[in-house]
Symmetry: none
Subunit: 224 residues, 2 copies
């Protein structure tokens, strides 16, 4: 469970960091909207805690930016001024909760945990890597909210890679997983090659990155 703090007061950041780290959250921080935007662009966070009063621009844009990329990220707004307008605007844009400074860390924690529980309940057994989201139930892959059509074989192949992330999987293991008994050892791997190529192409042309590496003579390895 990954948190991002967007906040420029180091002491507050540190306090949140240590508090949530000790609760088992993985924490990162950004001290400006631009830095936050960059981090959000490159990674995926489960909950973003966002001080909208930062000096370098409007936090509202950041909120819509997050929502554009990924509907599942929880957004919790911090605000120094108890402004009704900010509150309404940010909730309208898609924030999930709102807290006014100053606050007790325990209250923030309660709200973050509430968000966290909601996310778990909502059945977010979705799988994420970088900015990709996989919805196993509907067999859908998307990159930053944009759906990428995968065929069934491609989807199964990707799932198998994700289960075996960072491990080398042999072609026969892949074949066995995709075709079961129907796959003969005598068969050649031509069709594996073809699906591999197509899956690679779809992943890389969406993200610009390569995820599946060939380990010559041994198999393939998925990393992210």
């Amino acid at each position: 469970m990954k948190l991002l703090f967007v906040e420029d007061e180091p002491i507050l950041v540190e306090e949140m960091n240590s508090y949530f780290s000790s609760q088992g959250f993985v924490c990162e921080q950004a001290i400006s909207f631009s830095q936050a935007a960059q981090k959000i662009h490159n990674y995926r966070y489960d909950i973003v805690i966002l001080d909208i009063t930062l000096p370098d621009g409007t936090g509202m844009e950041l909120i819509s930016g997050i929502r554009e990329k990924d509907i599942e990220t929880g957004i919790l707004i911090l605000s120094a001024k108890n402004s009704l307008n900010d509150k309404i605007d940010s909730l309208n844009l898609g924030a999930d909760d709102y807290l006014t400074k100053p606050f007790y860390i325990e209250e923030l924690s309660a709200r973050v945990n509430a968000l966290y529980r909601r996310k778990i309940l909502k059945g977010s057994q979705n799988i994420h890597f970088d900015a990709f989201t996989i919805e196993p139930f509907s067999k859908k892959l998307s990159y930053k909210k944009q759906e990428i059509g995968l065929t069934r074989k491609e989807f199964e192949m990707l799932m198998y890679f994700l289960v075996n992330k960072e491990r080398v999987v042999s072609k026969s293991a892949i074949a066995e997983h995709l075709w079961g008994d129907h796959f003969d050892q005598q068969d050649n791997f031509d069709t594996v090659y073809v699906h591999m190529k197509n899956l690679r192409k779809k992943l890389s042309s969406a993200s610009g990155k390569d995820y599946i590496r060939t380990v010559y003579g041994m198999g393939y390895k998925f990393s992210c």
Copy 2:
């Protein structure tokens, strides 16, 4: 499970020593950064407990030194001053946990054990020798975080040596292990020689050390 205490207060060292020894940890100590650096260079520790306020230099360098060598070593920082900066810096550099002096030995123990559990969970079925790490599932060899590409035959040969560390293995044993039935006694060992040479070269050009000694007329012996 091997611990290293980097600490210059003899009483504290003695206390930690007896406490963790009785828990089954193997303990060593260094009373300065330079001594610690030397020990870390020569051995591999599972967890390093590091007082960053030692007088002879910056502990930050030591942290990055450890991380450069081996990503899996746990690092726990002790600090006399409750300095926020030290904490942030050291955590940023790759320390795993932080504890402020003075502390109860029980709290340190709890944190060390937490680190230990995390390490076990992380699948430490990885194999280490000197600063080399082998990840059998990802078929990866690395030296101080840097990956060394091995071909399949080289990888299998290295694994065979590690299983038979400090023993003399004959060429026919190696050949049998690498080629199974396909290897004929009538065949010559030319190809074994070639793979041996290539493996040796990769190991030595990464580390500057030779690990595989020729035992004339009998075979080869791997030591580290």
